[in-house]
Symmetry: C2
Subunit: 376 residues, 2 copies
Amino acid sequence: MYKLLKKSGKVRRGQFITPHGVIETPVFMNVGTLAAIKGAVSSIDLKEIGCQVELSNTYHLSLRPGDEVVRKLGGLHKFMNWDRPILTDSGGFQVFSLAHRRKIKEEGVYFNSHIDGRKIFMGPEESMQIQSNLGSTIAMAFDECIENPSPREYVEKSVARTTRWLLRCKAEMDRLNSLPETVNNKQMLFGINQGGVYDDIRIEHAKEITKLNLDGYAIGGLAVGETHEEMYRIIDSVVPYLPQDKPIYLMGVGLPSNILEAVSRGVDFFDCVLPARNGRHAHVFTKHGKINLNNAKFELDDTPIDEECDCPACRHYTKAYIRHLFKAKEMLAMRLCVLHNLYFYNKLMQDIRDAIDGDYFEEFKAEKLRLWDGRA
Amino acid sequence: MYKLLKKSGKVRRGQFITPHGVIETPVFMNVGTLAAIKGAVSSIDLKEIGCQVELSNTYHLSLRPGDEVVRKLGGLHKFMNWDRPILTDSGGFQVFSLAHRRKIKEEGVYFNSHIDGRKIFMGPEESMQIQSNLGSTIAMAFDECIENPSPREYVEKSVARTTRWLLRCKAEMDRLNSLPETVNNKQMLFGINQGGVYDDIRIEHAKEITKLNLDGYAIGGLAVGETHEEMYRIIDSVVPYLPQDKPIYLMGVGLPSNILEAVSRGVDFFDCVLPARNGRHAHVFTKHGKINLNNAKFELDDTPIDEECDCPACRHYTKAYIRHLFKAKEMLAMRLCVLHNLYFYNKLMQDIRDAIDGDYFEEFKAEKLRLWDGRA
């Protein structure tokens, strides 16, 4: 259940109440594709760096270790020892970005595994069944994620099918939640708005899916080829047509500056692999934007990545030390930078929530964008 | 300063007092070659898993980041944020095992770097200078580590040179410790006994180096080709000729069972890459010996590696989860297993100390060897 605590212009401050605890929004979800954060970060670490929601990937987990294995072990929460909310994606995005020899039909998608080439079929029912086996707090609807730009005609057809798939997702999720053997029979379902960069298709689709009274709504198919300006325009177009008493989730976004812009347009949930991926490549976020620790100028720098940061990396280690670890190819380098970047994102969201609570979000946003100066 | 707390047969329970704190012996030193433990384990983690002494490698650090860089940053303790004792090896072992096109002369060793092929010279003075720049608590003498078996004639010549090198090490260390700009001018020096598998050469060498009244003595050149039985025989031969008021360090050893056997022969210090290396390959130590988490039988095993273990991996995660992480190539797998194995070794040493204190070491040793049954 979404509780709107405060609204200031389009900016929303809320709480999303789940069986695994309350999510304070706006929130950034930390991506742990295979039930672990890449960079040797554990569920215990996630608590230390202020993560509220962990996000795992349905397609990946269905292949390794297999959702049946996770179900037998009591579900994802028990498997990875994380008692806070978990959101699982539908597998749709990975089917379209990773799988080989993909064939889309009305019933679903036929494709070959990116690991061993094995033939797989995934449709709305299969996606719900896998997510039910994983027992996540929030399941995402199975949709087609279309590349931007795509021809209008294709987008129209695809979106209509995504709507039909959504109805099947809801029916299947209701059925699964009613079964006594289900891992988490209070599993929630979020619908996903699609429509490429066509505002009118997006709006019509938003109206359609709103009718289903789902637990939340996502804006999908963005950050896949379009410009930031197009993305912001589409958010502006769609948000008014999504229910205001449900959370709005912008999938796969993004840079800290993207998050600020989207929050100011009414978005509540975010996720992105960017902070962890950047961290693994020595790119770390600071109050003055992103820096690259491989840079020679940090060789003798005995200050932390960010003097004011309270993350495990900044509390204990210097830029010179972490730079050395990267040069020496020590895994600890990645771990420290991933911890730092995820902490940075989680802390940014906390600061955003504080700014909304304190009625200074617009000043906060302007100040951050000025300090980052295009480097975040 | 070494303080013998208790002696029971040959078994010693002691304390080694250093400027960075007291080391309770027998002790296992945790190897962090490049000022970090391989497997994304940090100095903060080391405290959590009960590490008393960190060991870093002089040769590796002289190449990356360079000992001058470490010196400028205040020494190894500050660099890696570790305030307990650090032992650095002399670089000798790596020069003989890693370096290319090695040429041994009276003045030292000419060789090519294993990283970029660059020509390097290292002799006793250079090794002391590097270790002084690193500012470790305990420096090791520069010696030649001979392969086992080697011809008697070669061993005799080599050991005589190692003795001459030791005199130069001591003179250089005294000089460096007297300089005001030295990072740690209370740096201690341990000599190293060599002699291959020739008991009489070992004993003569032990007598020679004992005269120098160093801070401690190591038995080097073991676990490099000889059998366990030969190793134990040599320890038995040499220990009586090393000073009893100084710690005795068996370099590069070993398996838990080797440690028990060596403790029962009077050894106080140990180090080995084995627990971390095994951990990175899913081999973990339990009270019933070593197991391989890649084994299919652990797919649905929802118990920790060791039910009675208090390490971060066993407190929070199951064998099924860690096995999945290995299969999925998640770095977290290595981290958890390295933490577990190092904790296992540190806890073993704690249990050994308790057993000596409680007068039940022999029973403890017999029981462990019975439980491990050749698998540790």
